[in-house]
Amino acid sequence: MIENITILGGYDKKGNKEAVEEVVIHREEIFGVVGPTGSGKSSLIGDIEQLAQEDTFSKRKILVNGKEPSYDDRTNPRKKMVAQLSQNMNFLADMGVGEFLTLHAKCRGVKDTCVDKVIELANSLTGEPIKKEHELTILSGGQSRALMVADVAIISDSPIVLIDEIENAGIRKHDALQVLSGHGKIVMVVTHDPVLALMTDKRIVMKNGGMDKVVTTSLHEKTISQKLNKIDELMLNLREKVRRGELVNDISVDDI
């Protein structure tokens, strides 16, 4: 069981020591990674994905439960600790949703009774219902993202989930993060989106390829996060209305 991971700082793009020397992330915690383009967000995620041992460009070291992971833990494909989700990922398999999830469950040695649970969970994250008999490749961006989140939560038993920008996905982002951390996972999310950034517990600020500081989300920010979530929900509902060809007469912003 993974209780926490530790990132030990290395060097930034200019070869200076990183300002942040150590970050510990615990199970069920949600961490954000923020910073401008080219600041090194993706390579930080890459280091965690590979459980780097001072063998990448940044020379960072990743510990699991405070210890160096074994060579087998790092390289055995069946023991992969990290699952990834990103905006650029697509379903390319030419299969039906049900058939695909059954195959995935079989590959991970999970009972295929979980297939219905995955679809049900995915449908709680997106406005457009996904059905078992749908073809994977015709799913919309929102449906695909929702299905990927539900699948990672239930079938992939990787304890660490790395999310790289899912802001324009058309899913209930707030719920998606909650679902993942609720399944006992360590969640890290790269984002510029305040809806996501403010619902994290802490966020690592990147600069010049190095970890510059770690900001703890304030109580005030948490309140703002809840308001943003309501705006997000409102936008999602409007989106569905427009999609169904309905007229938008009014919006209620009273409780925001």
């Binding site: 390289t75 699952a83 990922m89 379903f91 390319l92 398999a93 299969m95 995935h104 590959c107 992939s156």
Partner: protein
């Protein structure tokens, strides 16, 4: 001399992955020479030249590129020796999915594109099933579920394969590939293929262009499974 034979379908990222791995060897002061075998055209030599690695091109033209690579192994090894290299890397355009260019003591590396569909590992045959290492590329473009299925299908075909998930753009995973190159054994004087080259002994092999069955001699296999030998 250590020999690394890299096979994979066109566009799977063989060259991109190799360039990152060879850069990593270079930082350890290890010298490598590259032979790129292709059929009709390649400009990959410029990419290798850019990182300062000696490179030679072999175009097999109307011959099977794997056969061509196999006939030329000795010459390639002695060329690498002349260059004072520790490693000979042969990158081949294995196209027909029946060949496997790896020899017994070489390090056989199969580069396979994750976007090519979950059944691809079952389709590509000996160049995956007899490889030491399967390098999966473009995994960042498909879902986590498909990545896991793809991995599992590779292990189904080749349970002993070491799987490396690599990114030809960022170089992720390529240091691991370089480590495997370092740990591989030396090749012997008398190398043997791991898998025999495919059956192909017929009139088409020597240039017949007529399609109808009556024009063909040699070992012919019909779609209904019936096999015959026509000729003297």
């Amino acid at each position: 001399m250590k020999m690394i034979i890299v096979a994979g379908t066109p566009g799977s990222g063989k060259t991109a992955v190799l360039i990152h791995a060879l850069k990593s060897l270079k930082t350890k002061n290890l010298k490598s020479s590259v032979v790129k075998i292709d059929c009709l055209y390649t400009d990959d030599d410029q990419k290798f030249a850019k990182i300062g690695v000696p490179v030679k091109i072999g175009l097999s033209m109307d011959m099977c590129p794997d056969h061509y690579a196999i006939y030329n192994v000795e010459d390639m090894l002695s060329w690498a020796q002349e260059n004072d290299s520790d490693y000979l890397i042969v990158e081949t355009a294995g196209l027909c999915h029946r060949c496997a260019p790896y020899t017994k003591n070489s390090l056989g590396v199969c580069v396979i594109d994750a976007t090519s569909g979950p059944n691809t590992p079952l389709k590509v045959g000996p160049f995956l099933s007899t490889a030491d290492i399967a390098v999966i590329t473009k995994g960042d473009m498909i879902s986590q579920a498909e990545r896991e299925i793809f991995r599992e299908k590779i292990l189904e075909v080749n349970p002993k394969a070491k799987i490396i998930e690599a990114n030809g753009l960022s170089g992720q995973g390529c240091v691991e590939l370089a480590e495997e190159m370092i740990n591989t054994k030396e090749v012997s004087e008398e190398e043997k293929l791991r898998h025999s080259a495919p059956l192909a002994v017929c009139t088409l092999c020597v240039g017949e262009t007529k399609v109808n069955k009556k024009h063909h001699r040699g070992i012919l296999r019909r779609i209904d499974g019936f096999e015959s030998y026509e000729g003297e």
